[in-house]
Amino acid sequence: MVLSEFAGVSMPDWIDALLRVVFIVALMTINAFALIYLERKILARLQARVGPTRTGPIGTLQSIADALKLVTKEDVRPITADRWAFELAPYMAFVPVFLVFVPIPFTETWFIRDLNLGLLYVFGVLGLNIVGVVMAAWGSDNKYALLGGVRAAAQAISYEIPMLLIIVAVVMVAAGRLAVDGDASMAGSINAIVGDQTTTPYILLQPLGFVIFMIGALAELHRPPFDMPIAESEVVGGYFVEYSGMRWGLFFLAEYTALFLMVMLASSIFLGGWNWPFGADVGLGLQIVLTLVKTSVMIVLVIGSRALFPRLRIDQLMAFSWKVLLPFAIVQVIANGIILAYGGADWVVGLVSFALLAALFGLIYQLMRQRKGEGARTVSTTPATPRVITAPDVTPVEAGGD
């Protein structure tokens, strides 16, 4: 329908679908280039640097140069690597990410296919991504890679559960709203969810959901503070430590595409996607702009987090997911169920979610304050008199308690 709408050409459905797929793949490749440049520049500004300046005007061609370098680089395979696992892994990580773009709406009518179970499809297919990562980790025959891959797998499992629960909560709200003026059976379709946010973006109804979704997305994307699978100072790059050349490039293409995808998903589900805020009606042309603007803002936030956060430890990450995020997600689902079952209004849903969000932040703050304890005290010098030092009160600490 892309061309039929914009150019007035009619064609068979399958050709139309094929064109859309080609369009998405091409767009995402260019998008990865743009994102890499953006990331370098934003990080540079946050780190008191200027970033790339030499390639092209203000360094805009830097990504092209990087890509050329990657393509011309030797593709090294360790002699002890498991050949098939090693060589197939980049594709296994790369293909699912592109498959996920099928139900993502760029405008009201601009998607590859609108799926009834769109959200389920997204998470089902995206989960395959980790297979490639684990294959890379195992196939490299490298201990750092193995550690990184196992970390990535553990992390993916831990963070998909609260994310999925939050999606359930969102779908509950969407089904309730769609039942009023639409078809509640379409509540799993992303486009239907976006279409429902003409007046109220879901971030107002499910703020806790938005926060948990974004935290989960950071973890899925291996972005700081959740980048231990690829932690440079610990596992030296993690699962792609043995990769070079274009295979490494494929991992990065997958990573940046996944970044765009996750952020796009968040902006569709929570920020209203192609909707103008509060019900203003704009044409299709502006819808794509709106989508991209919302996505870009979120991308800048995600990239900025890389400069401002150190890395959590793997057990802290797990504890945060299972002990904090998961209970909150479950409570959110239960609360939504109760409120919607008794026919509560939208503002009640939003208020409860806000309260839960406040509780989440309060809990995190409390935990951190407990952990930090007292700061360093200072003592004044007494150079002339000898002093007797009593042993300080140091309590042994269990490893890894959070």
């Binding site: 000898p386 002093r387 007797v388 030092i389």
Partner: protein
């Protein structure tokens, strides 16, 4: 510990510390151990004790409440050649702010001292370093491996009998071996190569080799290494055989083993230079080891000591010049 100011007042070496110093405290705590005290130039007290009392002195010094020497800040040794090795422990009491150095004499060869790693965990690494650098064995050390040096090296570089110049040879790096790798092929090899082209090219990249060739290469390398080690061992035995009794100065006569002229290594590997390189035996023989004067004790004969040292320095310089000349092939 006296308070130090920026202006330095140098105390004469070996002077007895005044009354009330930490030396008296130590003598009070250890009445049965003979303790010689001296002030060093920083105003610290250095106590010399018998080497078999080190562990006891450090242990009681740590627990005794008048001393409370809880920080072993430094441990090392000094090689005094014919007088043996002097072990030094620098101790400090953080609560009482007093510093002391404990010293003990041990023989150069075969010194055995009780380890203090059970008192101060710091001594774990310090004694490992001391062991590899001076060859002092510490009884009861939990992990007596080499620390800074390679694990299978058993030379003691900080001893005075280990001079700087032929260190490479002492370490088993055979100069002759390395120069042999680079000169042009010897006649018989040339003959082999002149024969049918079936002979494999001498230089082939490792990745182009077949498995058999790799095996061969490995074997060849292993053989070379073994040969080098063998040579180094022989050299070492030669030097040791020619060495004067323990603690003596470096055995100069044995030091310059038949070294090939380094010029041969640096020259371009052209066919003409190889035969023209002077054979070893043509070079002047190693200078005979000069008779070194023994150093008298500082307390008995200070002038004689200074003179003897000056004489030794002069002889050492001459020897070094001769050695350099020999290495140049003059």
């Amino acid at each position: 510990m006296t308070t130090r100011s920026s202006s330095v007042t140098a105390e004469p070496a070996g002077s007895e510390p005044g009354p009330g110093s930490i030396a008296d405290l130590y003598r009070e705590v250890f009445p049965l151990i003979s303790i010689d005290a001296a002030l060093d130039k920083g105003g610290d007290v250095a106590l010399t004790i018998p080497s078999d009392a080190i562990h006891e002195v450090l242990e009681r010094g740590r627990s005794d409440e008048r001393l409370q020497m809880n920080l072993l800040r430094n441990q090392t040794a000094v090689d005094w050649e014919d007088r043996g090795l002097e072990l030094v422990y620098h101790l400090y009491s953080i609560p009482l702010r007093q510093a002391v150095a404990i010293k003990a004499w041990v023989p150069t060869e075969g010194a055995v001292v009780e380890s203090v790693a059970d008192l101060y965990q710091m001594a774990d690494w310090a004694e490992r370093e001391c062991r590899e650098m001076f060859g002092i064995e510490f009884i009861g050390h939990p992990d007596p491996r080499n620390l800074l040096l390679d694990e299978d090296i058993d030379i003691h570089p900080l001893r005075k009998s280990h001079p700087l110049a032929p260190i490479e040879m002492e370490q088993g790096v055979d100069v002759e071996f390395f120069t042999k790798q680079h000169p042009p092929p010897e006649p018989e090899e040339e003959a082999e190569e002149a024969a049918p082209a079936a002979a494999a090219p001498t230089r082939k990249r490792v990745e182009d080799m077949t498995e058999a060739e790799r095996e061969e290469r490995r074997a060849e390398q292993a053989e070379r290494v073994a040969r080098a080690r063998e040579l180094a061992k022989v050299r070492r035995a030669e030097r040791l055989a020619g060495a004067p009794p323990a603690g003596g100065p470096r055995p100069e006569g044995a030091a310059p083993p038949p070294t090939p002229a380094p010029a041969a290594a640096t020259e371009a590997p052209s066919a003409e230079t190889a035969p023209s390189a002077p054979p070893r035996d043509d070079r002047p023989p190693a200078p005979p080891p000069p008779e070194l004067p023994s150093i008298p004790d500082a307390e008995e004969d200070p002038e004689g000591r200074a003179a003897a040292q000056a004489e030794r320095v002069r002889l050492g310089r001459e020897l070094a010049a001769a050695r350099r000349a020999q290495l140049r092939g003059e």
